[in-house]
Assembly symmetry: C2
Amino acid sequence: MEKIPEASRRRLALLAALLASYKEEKITSIQMQKMTGVERALIRKDISLAGFKGGVSNGYKAQELLDAIRAALGLPLPEEKRFCCIAGLGKLGAALMQCGIFDESPFKIVAGFDSRVNRTEVLSADFPLYPAAKMETVVPEAKIEFAILAVEDEQANMMAERLVKSGVKGIVNFTGQVLEAPEGVAVENVSPLLALNNICARVNS
Amino acid sequence: MEKIPEASRRRLALLAALLASYKEEKITSIQMQKMTGVERALIRKDISLAGFKGGVSNGYKAQELLDAIRAALGLPLPEEKRFCCIAGLGKLGAALMQCGIFDESPFKIVAGFDSRVNRTEVLSADFPLYPAAKMETVVPEAKIEFAILAVEDEQANMMAERLVKSGVKGIVNFTGQVLEAPEGVAVENVSPLLALNNICARVNS
DNA sequence: TAGATTGTTAATCGATTAACAATC
DNA sequence: TAGATTGTTAATCGATTAACAATC
């Protein structure tokens, strides 16, 4: 398969997330435009890029479409868990690990790391917490693929580097730092602070 | 001033955030490329779009540049606080309000809302918590401009609509839903779950 | 000065939109 | 069938990159 452009992949990933809780049997590009806010011609283009040709003149079968997108993007099925860890167990990290946000998802947090030993001793979770020194052994052993980075900004790059060295393939970055990740490691920035800045930049100009 | 394209504004907002903690007096586009990961020609283009012409052949004065970007984008200075609220005080919302992530920033959380009365009674914070019914009166009174949305997906659109009606101009969306916000209200999506999906989509294709 | 960097213009590249024959 | 929607191609649009004279 020819590779799908970044912008299309993001839209398809969003579409897949929304289709996962879609109830009807069939769906048209017009309905998908309503759900995602993406122009319907572009929706069809993206679907076509994903290699799915199953649409007919009254729309797509939602389940078939979802399966095709998941296959094209390598998205996990709900039942095949992908293992994740949280690096940085300050208030934000601790909350992310306890808030159950991933409960219904294919992502499962199986470890937490912090460089401050007292954090890993004071906190409790459904999964083990380790001092950061254990990262390089735990990540491969526990087959951890992705990390959620919630350390202080100052430690962000150092921690990211260690996560990558340990074998992590993607990082959800809650810090305000731009991470220098090597080719092949995906980083998604979700800093609430940068998000607010972006909002200001859009509202006031 | 001619309007700055979306992509440029985002890069400039990021650059501003990084410049805020930059220590040297002068900075070149090459250094900014290192910090942001953005090609240096594009950095200069963005700066030019922001209307700043103060660069000389050994770089820009960092402070001048930062001021200019802030002015062009309407970004707040560190000391001029912008008031925010959190809607949805589940574990994630509660953590966001307590974790101090905005402490050093121009954004200040001044209210929390939840539709479940017991949440607003059980939790405590440095600012008042209200039942969601009070939103329409509290938001304008407290001069709240932006909201952090951390409710359950099912309530996301309803809550967003109420926030907008109450006068909020931007929403940082932690839910997995796409919000239907009217023209003029900015939404930034920072769903950790969608971020992980995007990472999968990038790593596996 | 020589070397480095800016600011801007033109060239390239890629992404979105428009349009429409084919299909059900 | 008539009407609606898909899948795809060509046209448009906008964003990034290359290039370089001007500047310090």
